[in-house]
């Protein structure tokens, strides 16, 4: 047991002392907040620009009432031709021309711009015109203004999640989905990166031929487990550093830009007037706080360890059998398949319906559960499914570790043999 600890310690130090580890651990979490900062910065800039945008309009129909929440409208009392000429030299964003039209066929409305307008802007203007034409039509049918006003309703759909204790939790499926997918992708990356590192480490031990020296001091199984656990602890350390760094930096970034977000204040005012409509950023924060992060992180750690041990053992078996990374490629295929299945399952079945039969199956089968369950976890998974999934994952990694250990103990001492699955099966059957 003491010797396993020595190997774990050695593996851990070997990796952690490498420059590449430091770079990956420190730089990667800086990238996320940096991207966030850039995105937030640009969206703020855009909002600022958007408020300044001015649209000139020529209204020949005479019914257009500018709604100035999105654009500044400037009415021109000229004909289109001269307006167009004047627009060429002005700094304004666009020129909207509304000709005389038949209410049933409102054609000929044109927006002249110097740059291609975004679909958003066009949509805004269209909506504005459509609303006004609808009102116009209603009035034509002698609908009273009071009736018109009372027709305006705003239905905010609030998503309530009935929890076990009968409490109602607010949930937002988009955020939950985001959390699930982020966890699933992270899991996929971790298993692949660290699994490949186990394999690489074993191939290195084999090609440098240090392995026979080592196994004269420790049992091959101890060496394999020491390596796997040592790398797992590196992975956990990296993960924890990431969590700490990303949350700190992200909140710093959000806090810094948060105070400058102009629309947030506007929304807050709106929210005060109408308590039913919550401002999106605040809602987002509230939703975020509703996600049981402790629960998600605990499960992430469990499935990371379980999935990593399960796949790590397989990677170790492949590493022990081959003499070079190039040779390892052909054996990677069967390991990659279930990982890819769970990865695509995450984006198809689980994204569509985290509680469908396929989703549930994927999250229980030990080869796919680490990724699939992370996709589902934020939506709330029934206790029996979680328990079944965890137990089968534990049984799964015990099985793969046992199989891998039997291949490993023979494989590491074999040099220059031609390897195929039959040979590996023979090694597996071999007596100690």
């Amino acid at each position: 047991m003491n010797k396993i600890f020595l190997i774990i310690q050695r593996e851990f130090l070997n990796r952690v002392q490498k420059k590449s580890f430091l770079i990956a651990t420190i730089v990667l979490p800086l990238i996320f907040p940096a991207i966030m900062a850039v995105l937030v910065y640009f969206s703020i800039q855009q909002k600022k620009n958007a408020t300044r945008q001015t649209i000139q309009y020529v209204d020949e129909s005479g019914f257009f009432v500018p709604d100035t929440s999105k654009f500044v409208f400037k009415k021109l009392v000229t004909d289109v031709k001269s307006a167009k000429e004047a627009f060429q030299t002005s700094d304004d964003y666009g020129l909207l021309y509304i000709p005389h039209f038949d209410l049933s066929h409102p054609n000929g409305v044109t927006l002249y711009t110097k740059v291609n307008p975004s679909p958003n802007d066009i949509g805004n203007l269209e909506g504005m015109l459509e609303n006004q034409i609808r009102e116009l039509k209603m009035r034509k049918f002698n609908v009273d203004q009071k009736v018109l006003d009372s027709l305006k309703t705003d239905v905010p759909i609030e998503n309530l999640n009935v929890a076990d204790a009968g409490q109602e939790k607010k949930s937002n499926s988009n955020i939950l989905l985001g959390v699930g997918i982020a966890c699933g992708i992270l899991m996929y990356m971790f298993i692949f990166i660290y699994g490949a590192q186990i394999m690489q480490g074993i191939i290195e031990e084999k090609t440098s031929k240090v392995v026979e020296v080592i196994v004269s001091s420790v049992r091959p199984f101890q060496l394999m487990m020491g390596k796997i656990i040592g790398l797992a602890s590196v992975g956990l350390l990296q993960f924890l550093i990431w969590i700490v760094l990303i949350t700190t930096l992200s909140s710093v970034v959000l806090a810094y830009f948060g105070v400058q977000m102009p629309q947030q204040q506007m929304m807050q005012e709106m929210a005060q007037n109408n308590p039913n409509v919550q401002a999106p950023p605040i809602a987002v924060l509230e939703m975020m706080s509703q996600i049981p992060f402790g629960y998600v992180i605990f499960n992430f750690l469990f499935y990371f360890l379980g999935g990593y041990l399960l796949y790590g053992a397989l990677f170790a078996a492949v590493g022990s059998a081959v003499d070079s990374p190039a040779e390892a490629q052909q054996f990677m295929f069967p390991i990659t398949i279930p990982l890819l299945i769970s990865y695509f399952g995450l984006f198809t079945f689980i994204m569509n319906d985290p509680h469908s039969t396929v989703s549930v199956c994927l999250s229980i089968i030990p080869f796919t559960s680490p990724i699939a369950m992370m996709g589902r976890i934020a939506f709330g998974v029934p206790g029996w499914q979680l328990a079944l999934s965890m137990v089968s994952l534990i049984l799964g990694f015990m099985l793969t570790t046992w199989v891998a250990g039997r291949i490993y103990r023979v494989g590491i001492l074999m040099h220059g043999t031609k390897i195929n699955y039959k040979v590996m099966a023979k090694w597996f059957m071999m007596k100690g």
């Binding site: 031929k209 020296v213 001091s217 040099h415 100690g432």
Partner: protein
């Protein structure tokens, strides 16, 4: 004195062949024991079993009077034929790590590795990575890692492959010193000159079976052929039918070298007496078989079966 290692009827089977077939050996303490045999004879399998890397299917092994157990890992120092070090690890850390795996405390391991590096005058390599060392330098480090935990039984599998003559000499010196201090050394090799120079005892394994075992002297005595090399002036023929003239070659002028085999066990004196009757003897020496000749005779003989 009890034997360093006794193997009794050790058998190991793989799916398609038998690697070791009822091999029994006794390795006396404080000797250099040559484990000989052609490639694929089963030497490495036996050594791996002694190192508890693999298990025998049947048979028993005892080491210094006790049945072989995991606790004996620290008793054995093993230099495998397929050997190497962690390339990225610094020499000092590497030696400490390997010694710790053999059961030394970190402090002991550190002190011992420093002492050995002083002895080999390589203290300034402590912080060098192994990949930056030359092959000869790495071999020295490898040797230190084999013996630094003070094993009582040292197993060296083809120890001189990859060593330049200077380092080979240095290592030979160390091996003799370790033997003088009380260590038992098992040499696995097919380099007969090493065996001739260093080994006290040998065992020959061929085709999974032990076909010869004993002290070097015993073995050579067993394979004496009562053949003598005589240098003489003038040719001769042997009248007595107890002798056979195997070969007679001219060396220079009237000098010849003849090889004479005696059919019965006669004393060399009798042969000399008989020879002086027929020729002028200038030199006379018994032709003692070399280990290489014995090896080849036995292995070839075995393959004719």
């Amino acid at each position: 004195m009890e034997a360093a290692l006794i193997a009794q009827h050790v058998t190991k089977r793989y799916t398609n062949h038998v690697a070791l077939d009822q091999v029994s050996l006794t390795i006396p303490q404080q000797t250099i024991f040559g484990l000989l045999g052609p490639n694929g004879a089963g030497k490495t399998t036996l050594i791996r079993i002694i190192n508890q890397i693999i298990n025998a299917d049947s048979g028993e092994i005892s080491i210094f009077g006790e049945p072989l157990q995991p606790k004996h890992i620290g008793t054995i120092g093993y230099l495998p034929e397929e050997r190497g070090l962690y390339k990225k690890l610094k020499v000092g850390e590497q030696l400490i790590y390997l010694a710790q795996l053999k059961g030394l405390s970190r402090k002991d391991a550190s002190e011992k590795s420093k002492a050995w590096m002083r002895k080999f005058e390589i203290t300034d390599w402590w912080n060098k990575k192994v990949e930056d060392l030359s092959k000869g330098m790495a071999q020295k480090v490898q040797f230190i890692s084999t013996v630094m935990h003070e094993p009582r039984l040292i197993i060296l599998d083809e120890p001189f492959s990859g060593f330049d003559p200077v380092n080979a000499q240095l290592i030979t010196q160390e091996i003799l010193e370790l033997k003088a201090k009380g260590c038992t050394v098992i040499f696995s090799t097919h380099r007969m000159e090493t065996v001739e120079d260093l080994c006290d005892h040998i065992a020959l394994i061929n085709k999974s079976k032990k076909i010869l075992e004993g002290s070097k002297k015993q073995v050579k005595d067993t394979y004496r052929t009562n053949t003598f090399v005589v240098e003489h002036k003038g040719t001769f023929t042997l009248a007595s039918d107890g002798y056979e003239l195997v070969e007679q070659k001219s060396i220079e002028d009237s000098f010849f070298r003849s090889i004479v085999r005696s059919q019965h066990i006669t004393s060399p004196n009798q042969l000399i007496r008989d020879l002086t009757n027929v020729t002028e003897v200038h030199s006379f020496i018994e032709k003692i078989p070399t280990m290489s000749e014995i090896f080849i005779t036995l292995v070839k003989g075995g393959s004719d079966e």
